[in-house]
């Protein structure tokens, strides 16, 4: 459930970034706020994931699962730091790539859990 909400948030932010890139406008504090909100959601996902792992998880590749949970946390902060180094459309494009990768990580997490 949490992943679906976060996936929708990521999609909305992605669309927002596309509009900014097309119009040649730099991200404002509202967008950075939305990214921060998404990051908080990813932290919540890590907690939920670890709680799930403490229960029944026969056959789940725990190392890979935790790896994806932690990897998803690193993505947005790194993208933010790398994007502000160049305040152009390309810098905004970096944020777009990061936000698009997040739902892919959700699919991976889902596959890893179902495979278990």
């Amino acid at each position: 459930m949490l992943q679906i909400v976060l996936g929708v948030v990521a999609a909305v932010i992605a669309l927002w970034l596309v509009i900014l890139i097309v119009r040649g406008v730099q991200p404002n504090d509202w967008l950075y706020g939305a990214l921060a909100l998404l990051e908080v959601g990813l932290v919540a996902q890590l907690v939920v994931g670890l709680v799930r792992l403490s229960g029944d998880h026969a056959g789940v590749n725990v190392a890979a699962y935790v790896g994806y949970l932690i990897g998803s946390l690193v993505l947005l902060p790194v993208a933010f730091l790398w994007s502000v180094g160049e305040r152009t459309r390309a810098g905004t494009g970096v944020l777009l790539v990061a936000v698009v990768v997040i739902p892919v990580l959700f699919l991976r997490l889902h596959d890893l859990w179902v495979a278990g």
Binding site: G67, W82, V94
Partner: protein, 130 residues
């Protein structure tokens, strides 16, 4: 301001390379740590691809064009050779380059072409400035 491999389109390219550096290396380390005896050759190859992505990310991010060119050629060779010899059903032994990067939306196959195109474009731009 002279062109650099890390500005403009290069800024996005470096980030994508960075994502793959992390994904491929982390995947290889998990594979080697948890099931190394299953397929040591495949997992070592996974680690090799991760290192290639790390070097390419560094080279593109710091404007080391010759190193970037060599690593991207190695990357392209790797994805073509591994893509050709790997079998789609070897999922348990897969690396990022297996089946031409099918498991990663074929981005591993497309990425080196973008990398080479970008180096060519940047190189041409620098030559015109002189």
């Amino acid at each position: 301001m002279s062109a650099s491999t890390r500005t403009g389109f290069g800024r996005i390219l470096v980030f994508v390379y960075g994502v793959f550096a992390l994904a491929a290396t982390a995947r290889a380390l998990v594979q080697l740590a948890t099931q190394a005896s299953d397929a040591p050759v495949a997992y070592s190859l996974s680690l090799f691809s991760g290192i290639v992505y790390i070097v390419a990310t560094w080279a593109l991010g710091t404007d080391h064009r010759r190193v970037a060119l060599v690593t991207i050629v190695v990357e392209l060779t790797g994805v073509l050779v591994i893509g050709t010899v790997s079998h789609p059903s070897d999922i348990d032994r897969a690396s990022v380059w297996s089946d031409y990067g099918n498991g990663y939306g074929y981005v591993p196959l497309v990425l080196p072409f973008f990398g080479l195109w970008w180096l060519w474009r940047i190189g041409r731009g620098s030559a015109e400035e002189r």
